[in-house]
Symmetry: C2
Subunit: 354 residues, 2 copies
């Protein structure tokens, strides 16, 4: 178990690897009994803010599933709370007290020093680097400015995005002031994670899929680009994942990340062709495919690997987070199927060359 | 007001028109005071089932906004109720009692005779044709099989679609039996609307955007195609609208509709280029753009009209239903802007030819 596995990092840089690395968004989550046992003892926020526990759940899927990367266990809204908003979790998901309504609400928010306001995140990362000891790389992460701003204006999750879009269209000054402040926060937050030892970072734009191409450019892309430009990214691959709209993939590329996350609504070969082969891609199994019987699940994994075509620069993942209804058994089977298939594929290609 | 306006039908057939016709999804809705006044007196389902009232609200946007087509006021779940499910409306939207869980639930459902089970729909259409008297064409509509089946399995709205996807992946026999029965129902339902006088029909696949391309083909496209193939569509243009995923546009074309609805997540020129110019397109303004000041709203309308490029076969619409927060004033302004711009555009082109 002391093998040093850098396949994930190599794939981010589009270097050849002996099999396709895989990790799973939300791989430390409710579908795991061990995670639930811990959550039965502490609240979600307490778990995020206790380095020993956050590190423990981060490592669970490395041991249980055999994935090729660990991702920091935390919540996307941790930096938002640090900006000065009140964060609570109920049955309906996250709730932010006093949502941002106008310019003076934005002015009251701070650009927090991560070391002062969220030291537990960096402590978790340091602890993880020690405990992982090079077995697999550690990914840090943050929400993208548009996605975080959506939560801040809507006050929680939404399906209509009417509040943030009303602000975008009726009060552009306020939304741009907010997005600027969030972008600065995300830059500091991710740089602090990198300094603490994160070996790659992923930026989640989970809600940007609700935007038209022109609004995506103005309200999401430009701020994510600002974030990526501000990162101390030497030797640190940056992954940018926009969920919910294959219609803006060509624009997503312009943010300048090393890897582009692809959701399940488009075939991976079509997506990679659209963004170009000078960038790595990550994805994109339909999360509910984990409900399939194993033979069908394996068929789908192979289909995606075939679409990637053995080209260097593919990291296998789901097209969105793993669902609580998934089983550890099938998640583990998927990891093994991806690892196994790629070896056969390499052998096939070797044989072809003979 | 007795002008006969067939621009919408002409555009569906990709015939040249003097200006781009426009109608607005959910154009008879909560954003209108007159609609709310009626809804204060009767329940939503009562409104759907009372031909005089349903016809009255259907005509409201023709008078108030000047749109180029009327669309039957009804609910997407009316045929589902007729299949034998219990339908109620609460604050959280529609609720279907005893959602479909297994094959015997499917077996209990009927393929209803529209004349017997939902005669009020056909009466509304007949009344409307009389009252409209050719001023604008009347569009009938139905949900697509996948979208209706989603409601039937989930029991109402959902954002995760876990129940229907679980059925798709764990119990394909049941979901295919359900989709077959729903497709048969939709064929009868739309043919009855056509017989009663609907001059075009739109099939709404509002939830198919949650599917990967392969699942879209198996669980949505094939059944919508079955519906379209089963329609008595001579002289009746068929519009097919998939919401939420520009990643399957090329597949949407395979259903064989005359017009493809395009949501706002992709530029109209890109979308039309992908589906091909041998089909008409409808769309695709971001619904929240109605919150913009008029000059910006007009700019967006022009942008879409420019993307359509004056090519015959474009029907202007929003990329999804109009929101309750929109104003009649801005909706009317949009209709006028679309009508006005196209005339200028035609003049420009005439001048270029001289």
């Amino acid at each position: 178990m002391s093998e040093k596995n850098y396949r994930f990092i190599d794939a981010c840089w589009r270097k050849p690897v002996d099999y396709t690395p895989i990790w799973i968004m939300r791989q430390a989550g409710r579908y795991m009994k061990e995670y639930q046992d811990i959550r039965n003892k502490v609240s979600f926020l307490e778990l995020c803010k206790t380095p020993e526990l956050a590190a423990e759940v981060t490592i669970l899927p490395i041991d249980k599933l055999g994935v090729d990367a660990a991702i920091l266990f935390s919540d996307i809204l941790i930096p938002v709370e640090a900006m000065g908003m009140n964060l609570e979790f109920g049955d309906g998901g996250p709730h932010l007290g006093s949502p941002v309504k106008n310019k003076s609400d934005v002015d009251r928010l701070i650009v927090p020093s991560p070391q002062e306001k969220v030291p537990f995140v960096m402590e978790t990362i340091k602890l993880l680097r020690k405990e992982l000891d090079g077995r697999v790389p550690l990914i840090g992460f943050s929400g993208a400015p548009f996605t975080l701003a959506s939560y801040m204006v809507e006050g929680g999750g939404t399906s209509s995005f009417v509040k943030i879009k009303t602000m975008m269209f009726k009060d552009p000054e306020t939304i741009h002031a907010l997005l600027n402040k969030v972008a600065k926060t995300v830059i500091c937050y991710l740089n602090a994670q990198i300094e603490a030892g994160a070996q790659a970072v992923q930026i989640f734009d989970s809600w940007a899929g609700t935007l038209s191409p022109r609004d995506y450019q103005e309200f999401a892309l430009s701020y994510t680009k600002q974030v990526i430009d501000g990162l101390n990214r030497e030797n640190i691959p940056v992954i940018y994942f926009v969920q919910g709209n294959p219609g803006v993939l060509e624009l997503v590329k312009q943010a300048g990340s090393d890897v582009i996350g692809v959701d399940w609504r488009i075939n991976l070969d079509v997506a990679w062709n659209r963004v170009g082969y000078d960038v790595a891609v990550q994805g994109n199994l339909e999360p509910c495919a984990l409900f399939l019987p194993k033979d069908k699940l394996e068929e789908r994994a192979k289909e995606i690997l075939n679409q990637a075509g053995g080209r260097p620069g593919h990291i296998f993942n789901l097209g969105h987070g793993i669902l609580p209804q998934a089983t550890v058994e099938n998640a583990k089977f998927l990891v093994e199927a991806v690892h196994k298939f790629r070896i056969q594929n390499t052998e096939d290609r070797t044989q072809t060359r003979e």
